[in-house]
Subunit: 461 residues, 2 copies
Amino acid sequence: MTDLREPEHDIRDDDEGLSKETFENVTKAIDADDGQRLDTLLEPMHAADVADLIEQLTPVRRRAFLDLYSGEIDGDILSEIDESIRDEVVEQLPHDVLADAVREMDTDDVVDLIEDLEEPEQQVVLAALDDSDRAAVEQSLTYPEYSAGRLMQSETVTAPEHWTVGETIDFLRQEDWLPDQFYHVILVDPRRHPTGYVTLGKLLSSRRNVPLRDICEDSFRTIPAREDEGEVAYVFNKYHLISAPVVDDDDRLVGVITIDDAMSVLDEEHEEDFLRMARVSDESHVSDGPFQTARQRLPWLVINLFTASLSALVISLFEGTVERLVILAALMPIVASTGGIAGTQSLAVAVRALATRELTSANARRVIVRELFAGMLNGLGLAVLLGLAGTFILGSPGIGLVLGMAMIANQIVAAMGGVLVPLTLSRLGLDPALASGTFVTTMTDVMGFFAFLGLASWILL
Amino acid sequence: MTDLREPEHDIRDDDEGLSKETFENVTKAIDADDGQRLDTLLEPMHAADVADLIEQLTPVRRRAFLDLYSGEIDGDILSEIDESIRDEVVEQLPHDVLADAVREMDTDDVVDLIEDLEEPEQQVVLAALDDSDRAAVEQSLTYPEYSAGRLMQSETVTAPEHWTVGETIDFLRQEDWLPDQFYHVILVDPRRHPTGYVTLGKLLSSRRNVPLRDICEDSFRTIPAREDEGEVAYVFNKYHLISAPVVDDDDRLVGVITIDDAMSVLDEEHEEDFLRMARVSDESHVSDGPFQTARQRLPWLVINLFTASLSALVISLFEGTVERLVILAALMPIVASTGGIAGTQSLAVAVRALATRELTSANARRVIVRELFAGMLNGLGLAVLLGLAGTFILGSPGIGLVLGMAMIANQIVAAMGGVLVPLTLSRLGLDPALASGTFVTTMTDVMGFFAFLGLASWILL
C-alpha cells in the first residue's frame, strides 16, 4: 500500500541521537572556548552521534572544536566520521591521539580510514599498529578498492574440523585476542581452506562432546577477496548471511565480512544510485560549501545545455509552422515533458531491476515487450484526454488529434528508451544509473517536439 | 571517486544464483510436464534462488510450475517469495503444504506472510500454528503495519540479571526451542524489562563463574514496538546493532529484531524512495504485466498533463512576442530544461539528507543559503556560456543576454525549490520523495518560460 505519511522522514528534534538543543549547546561551548563544558556535553553521547555533530558543524567551528576536543577523539568516533571530512579531521589530530585511536580499531576500520588519507598520515597510522595488525592492513590494501578484501576484518575465529564443542569453548576461553564481534566459528582444514561454519548459538546450546561437523550450517558460502563490495552486499541481503569467510585466489581463509559492514555498503550503493539518477555526484554532502556544490553539479548542467540545443535545433526546423500557428509554441512542451516523465518511470524500474538481478537476459525480451505495450496503452489514454481537451477547450479537433498522435509516439519512445538504454549501458559494463537519464530525456524531448511539430505541419497547415 | 564501471550492475549469467541455463532448463521441464526433472534441477538450489525463479516465470508457467512442484514449497521458499506474487502462490498451494510450510517459519516470517493474505488463507495459516506461535503472531498483528512489532520475532533468549556464564550455558543446553538465529542473551528483571545484553562471543569466551552483569555490552538500546520500521533500519545502520530487544508500551520485552530483517527494510525503503522520486509506485515489479504497469504509471502522467498545461498557459501569454520573433520558441526549452535538471539535483541531495537526518532544523538555514549561492554561481556560469553562444552562434548579443538572465533567475528558483519543497513536505509529515519532483519541475518550467519570454518582450522588442 502506498503510505503517504512517512514519519521516518520528518525533521525530528525530539529524537534520540543528536538533538537541536545539544547541537546549540555544543556550538555555544565552542564559541565560548569552553573545553570542560564540551566534555560534559559529549561524554554521554554515542560515537556515531559525536561524528554526526562534527559533520554538521561549519568548517570554522569544526576547527575550533578540534582544537578544544581532539584529545577525546577515539577509534570509535574516527571510524564513524564521514569520508567527506575525515582527512580534514585527521590532519588536525595530534599524532599521538591518532595513534591511540587506530590501535583500538578493527583492521577493517583502519583500512577504511587509511584509504582516504594522505601519505604522511598513512605512515602515522601504520606506525601506530602492532606488527600483526599492520601486516593485516597492508594485506587488505593489496586488494582493489571497493573489493571484499578491503571490507573484511582479518581477525577470524577458526577451529579444526575434527574439534568438539567442548574443545572449541575451552579454546575460546583461553584466547585473549578475540574480535569485538563474531558470530560464527569457521571450520578450516589443515591448509586453512574454510569448509563450513557453526553459529555461536548452536555452539552454546550443544553438549560438549558433540563434534563441530555435526552442527555445521547447511548453507555455506565463501566470498572471493576480489569480489566487488556491491556484490557482497547483494549476497548478504539475498541469502540472509550474518558473516561470511573471505578467501584468497587459492581459496584460503584471509578474513571475514560481517553483516553490519555489508549493510553500510548496501546503504552507500543505494545512495549512489539515487544521486546518480538525479545527476548528482555521490560525493555530495550536506556539509559542502556553495562553491563545492556548484562545481559538483555544473558538468551535468552544461551537458544539458548541449542536449537542449538539440531540441532547439529540431524546433527551429519548424519555425515556419510555428510562425503560422503560434499556439503550437505554447502546446509543444506538453508532449515533450510528459514523455520525459514516462521515460524516467520506465528507466527507474529498469535500473532497480538490473541492480537486484530481477532483469536478466532471461527475461529482458519479455520486459521490453511489456514496456512497449504499457507505453502504447498510456499513450492512448493520454491521447484521448488531449483529443478531448483540444476539441472542447481549444475548440480545435485538429490540434487535439495532433497532440494525441504525438503523445502516443512519444510514450512509446519513452517506454522503450527507458528500458533499452540502461540494458545497453549495463551490457557495456557501465553503470546504468549514471548516464541513462540524459539519454532518455534527450530522446523524449527531441521526439516530443519533432512528432508534435511534424504532425502539425502535415495535418494542420 | 566516481567509478564509471560498476560490475555489480552487469547482467551476469555466469553468476552464482539463478543462471540463464538453469532458468531455461526449468522452463523446458515445466513445458514438458516433467516433475521429476524439476525436482532434480531445483534440489541443489538455495530457497532464495527458487523464489527468484518463481518470480521470473510468466504467470501461465508459474501456475504450471506450482501444479508440478507445490508439494516441495517449504517455509524457506515461501518467506523468500516477493509480496507481489505471494498471494497468487499461496492460493495455489494445497492446504496441508501451506500448513507444513508455516510451521517451520519463525513468527516474524509468518507475520510478514499473513499480512498480505486473504481471510481464508489467513485462517489456514493460523490454524496450522501451535498455540504459542499463534498467540505470538496474533500479538504482532495488533501493532501497526510497518512497525517494529510486525518486524520482530517473538522468540527471545533471556536470562535473569543475576545469572553467571555457567548457569546461562547450562540453561541454553537444556532448551530445545531456541530460535534458528540469535546473537545476544537479553538480561531481564523479574518484570521482564530488558536491562542489558551479552553477546554470544563474550559468553563463549568468559569463564563459567563470571556474572553476566560484568560482560554486558556498554551500549544498549531497546526499540518501542510501535516504532516505524524505517526508523528501526536507520538505528541499526547508524549504531551497528546486530539485534535489539523490542518492548511494549510498559517497556516489557515482547520480541527481538535481528539485523538481517533491518537490512531488508533498509533495502526496501531505499527502493521506495528511488522509485517515488521517478514517480513510480513502489509496487512496481518486473513480473507485472503491461496493463498493471500502465495503470501504475498513468496517474503521474495525467498530473503532468495538468502541470504542463500551466507552462502552456504562461507561454500563451507571450504569443505576440513569439509571433514577432519565432526563434524564441526554439530557444525557450533550454532555460526550462536546464532548470529542471538543477532542481532535481538540489532536490535529490535534500531528500537523501532528510532521510539520513543530515538535514535537520539545526542546519536547514545554512543549507538553504548554500543552495541559493550555488544556484547563483551555476546560473552565472551557464549565463556566460549562453551569452557567448547567443553572440557568436546566433549573432545576437541581445538573445544571449536574455537567455543568460533568464537562466540565472531559473537556476536560483531551481536550487531554492529543490530544498524548500522537500523541507516543507517533511514538516507537514509527508514523504518528500513522493511529490517534490512534480512541484519543483513545475516551478522551473513555469519560471523558465516566464523569465525567458518576459525578458525577451522587454529587451528584444
